[in-house]
Symmetry: C2
């Protein structure tokens, strides 16, 4: 395991890609341009609340690390980000979320109706754009991945039974919900590369994506909120069972188990209840276990990279693993 020292930022990963990422942004803006008032308004809002472009970054790095140029890469990267945006819009609608990255969701700003329809609009725009490019292979990868994400969302709906929810169930969930699109981004970046490298990058993205989601779930237990100075525990609040709890439950005595059962049966658990279970999970080694698991996945992802020729882009892909492990959201 040879991850560089901490301190790798997303901006650092993206430094060499700046002009290309600007082109991706331009493509994204072109693709969702609309002369229909309400759609243009929602799209304007989406572009503002826009994310960190991590998936486009992975796609472009995968393309550079696997060799041949691909003049479609920026457009593919924009489409991948668009699919990501579409799923966020529907996720917020499904969860009735009002905030995302500190900005009001489409849900909150417009309405539930608008967010369901806009998610459909964005996804079908993505497909239209891919058909315009005229090749079926990116469509094959990205439609499979999108379908997998919906299966992941269904799994999520059922991940509320802590005592019967296993680590294997959790793995299936995070693989379909999160890893699939990150993996798809890497794979689409390598569509012009030899099949073996395409496969390597697909697996790399899958492992990185699983680590990504585990760290995300861990942050819910560890990251102190600005206002309260305590971990948010939002997943517990919403009765979502994630890896730290799944592992801790194996070591819980009857008392701790009872606390979990009570929390899960309480429609709106109190901050005290949540704080108590968070502390129990930490004591029982749930956080350490999840952290280790993320590191093991990242190490396997790093091994995959060995099969690619040495290049600056390959090193940046390696750095992206450190970013995933160290990030604070």
């Amino acid at each position: 395991m040879t991850f560089r020292a901490a301190g790798i930022t997303l901006a650092g990963l993206q430094a060499s890609l700046r002009p290309r990422l600007d082109a991706v942004q331009g493509e994204l803006r072109r693709i969702i341009r609309s002369d229909f008032g309400l759609i243009a308004e929602v799209n304007g809002h989406l572009l503002q609340m826009q994310g960190k472009m991590f998936r486009p970054t992975l796609l472009l790095l995968s393309q550079e690390a696997s060799g041949p140029g691909d003049e479609r890469a920026e457009t593919h990267a924009a489409v991948v980000e668009l699919i990501h945006l579409a799923t966020l819009v529907h996720d917020d609608s499904v969860d009735h979320s009002v905030l995302r990255r500190g900005m009001p969701t489409i849900n909150a700003l417009f309405s539930h109706q608008v967010s369901v329809i806009m998610g459909d609009y964005l996804y079908s725009r993505a497909v239209v754009e891919l058909t315009r490019l005229g090749e079926i292979e990116p469509l094959r990868v990205l439609s499979r991945v999108t379908n997998e994400m919906t299966v992941g969302e269904m799994r999520q709906l059922m991940a509320h039974e802590p005592l019967s929810y296993s680590e294997a169930d959790y793995d299936l969930l995070i693989r379909s919900k999160t890893a699939s699109l990150l993996s798809g981004a890497c794979e689409v970046g390598a569509l012009r590369a030899p099949p073996r490298e395409r496969e390597v990058l697909r697996r790399f993205g899958d492992l990185l994506g699983m680590a990504f989601q585990i760290v995300d779930d861990l942050l819910d237990y560890t990251e102190e909120e600005a206002v309260t100075g305590k971990p948010s525990g939002n997943d517990l609040r919403e009765h979502k069972v994630t890896l730290p709890l799944i592992h801790a439950l194996k070591h819980f005595g009857p008392e701790a188990r009872r606390e979990v059962r009570t929390l899960m049966a309480t429609p709106e658990p109190s901050d005290e209840q949540i704080g108590q279970v968070v502390a129990r999970v930490a004591e029982a080694g749930g956080l350490d276990y999840a952290r280790e698991r993320a590191h093991r996945l990242a190490a396997r992802a790093e091994q995959e990279l060995e099969a690619l020729p040495a290049s600056p882009a390959r090193e940046t892909l390696r750095d992206s693993l450190s970013y995933v492990l160290d990030r604070k959201r």
Copy 2:
């Protein structure tokens, strides 16, 4: 205008297609088969509440009427029906509907969350299936059409301002919301035909589809409900402005206009309020106008068919216009 006498049923249109439509059903079942419990359950329900297969019928007839065989036609027809199902699931979610064709909606039977996710599941499955067939052209047509339908849904959200909503706005709405997929079904049926016939069938489907939606909107004003013996007026109840009202408003005096404004400002209008406006619309000729308009569109659709070689399928396409005009839902 040479439509045959009334009495043409959907079963009549479908008689010669029976074995092919059975194959379409088989394809549909294959495409949405899932070993994931909840998805399988929802799909089972969808297959039960399944519709009249009007879009697959049009696709197969278009294929037969335009010449060359197409071994993919049954699969394409299943995909078109699947896209139709996906939009129904999201429509019901957007409208919070509890019943469709007398059966509980996915919304009502499972949850809002499940219906948003299942709509996404079904649509992305449709795209996966089309990529499996390996040709980009059906994808091009159907993704464009699906995107248009979402624009139509957005237009629908804004069709609540009776005094500023014009017939031109309404045309844009029904064309994108309804005619697009019917037109897409006809066009995809003709993908192996010469471009001119493909274009003829695309236009035929567009005109038929507009007539279809106008008749649908008309039925809301005319068809007596089993329980009440009165027109449902559901569109008015939901403050949806459709063609009969748009036309009638041009002839309304200040009294009738005031009644409409009051109804539109009442969150849950009474049956009396609705009955009153329905009567006003009928008196002002709104129903006659809408009926005429549907007939004119059907006549233009019929003219398009003249450009196709004579065949039994072409005659059945002609009959489908009579079905659209005469149907009672």
